[in-house]
Amino acid sequence: MPMHSQVFSQIGEAAHALSSNRSSRYFGGGTLVMRQVNAGNQSFDTIIRSTDPSLKQVQISGDQVIIGASVTMSQVIASRDLDFLKSAASVIGGPAIRNMATVGGNLFARSPYGDFTTALLALEATVALSGGRSDVPIADFLTQRFREPKPLVISVSVPRPRDGNAFRFLKIMRVKPMGVSLMTIAAHLPQSGGRLANPRVAYGSMGDTPIRANAVERALEGKTLDAQGIAPALAVATEGITPRTDSIASEWYRREVAPAHLERLLLGTGG
């Protein structure tokens, strides 16, 4: 089918167009959709985008920061309010890709991509959808992101960590500084009285979508962030998780090295 392109100044119009046309895709920064267009992907013939300025905004709302879906990785890096996400945004593609790739788009990236989303998952971000809920937990969103009617993401709300050092991010790449992820780990590690309280750990490139490491979180609860404290968590690093096999590594390898990389992240000795 010939490709059609529709542009809307209002996000609501774009959302309507998207949900009413099964063979459409929403076009954010282009890094995912244009690649499919170039490859002749037959599953869609319409690209829909919106120039709504709200999509480009970064707003502070209480202890949340609301990031418009069209905010690029470079804008995340440049934003003082998003300093805690700089480590994640900085390892998305190379500089050209970071000027294009958006926060909203990353939510739709399939493994081994989607590193920024892994960070958002550990921070328990919520997703606001046009014409729908404004506070979909990101974990829920990830399970339904490719369902019809297709969701159009307006923004992502991220609770800002009280302690900037409490958020850790590690992307394991065989090629640096730009490379595809072997495993990405994001962790939010708030402490209370020297012990971890409600720690959150998420993995990227370990499954089909970024996933929470629930067993690790449970094992870290109430522990100290030192070699002894994290030992039980390392032992369950991949409990309940079936790592993916791809061209970069096998399930076996990902399972084997997950504890080592988790340890490096938790103790701050990684990369």
Binding site: P112, Y113, R174, V175, K176, P177, M178, G179, V180, T245, D246, S247, I248, A249, S250, W252, Y253, E256, V257, A260, H261, R264, T269
Partner: protein, 340 residues
Amino acid sequence: MTMHSGRGFAAINYPIGMNLGGDPSQALVHSNPDGKFTVALSSIDLGQGMKSVTRQIAAETLGIPVADVYVDTADSDTGPHCMGSFASRGTHRVGNAVIEAATEARGVMLEAAAEELEVNPEDLVTDGKGNIHVRGAPSRSITTAEACGVAQFQQGKTVSGRGIFLIPLSDVDPDTGEMTPVSCFAHAALVVDLEVDDMTGEVTVLKMNSAYEVGRALNPRLVEQQLIGGAWMGVSHALYETTEPYYPDRSHGPQDFGSYIMPGPGEVVPHDIAILERPAPDGPFGGKGPGEMCANPVLPAVANAVFNAVGVRITDLPITPEKILRGIKANGGAQPQGIV
């Protein structure tokens, strides 16, 4: 986590060209009336520097400055037949064809000069700066431009030449493999220093020291380009690349440069190179063609260094962290082999 240092060595030789012969290359050389020469080839410049190296070979042979030569390639209407740019055959085969063509053209140029200077052509030499003079008598001279001009406007001579280089096709004995496979060999020896992370199997290449024997470095910077880039490719083949990660299973084949991984600018390995030059008797000015061999010693040297570092012998390329880690686990831990 422990990082284990390892050092590995490998030495190779490399047969230049399609080994059986039967792969000719041709060249045509002619001058404009002002002594500027064109070399017409159908050979391909893939980045290896075919145009540049044949230009220097033509200039050297003609006895004129390199600026007076332009190499035109590849147009099948104007460039004579060439088998192609592969098997490190370009410098060697095409270079020889250019020498033959340029030698013939030079002969005409010197004949024209001799007629003007009223001497024997055998008594003339070129100074490489655009002049032809009588041997031992620099004042009796004519410029190459003048010689080419009078040849074409007064003497009715084409200042041109044809060249072909052919090693005839060699038979191979079915029962013993007896054959005349190549005309010459290039050589290399290389030492790799690296580290292996025994928790992940990941390898960091720290340093390469090498010696490459290339016959003659016809252009040292072009040789350097080949060796630096080729050794990089060797590291890449050794540690990263394959289109079939689970060979012979065909699954999970990379579809893009995200999943087909190669080291990038962040993984540049410091590489100290010594270049040796033992001219090949049949090479153009002794040149052998360094383009292909440069990667070859890197692969086994990396494998040997990995063994030295952690005692794991990987016999299956590429040497991925996964294979190393499996080996370490099978051995019950890293087994550093000590300083060699």
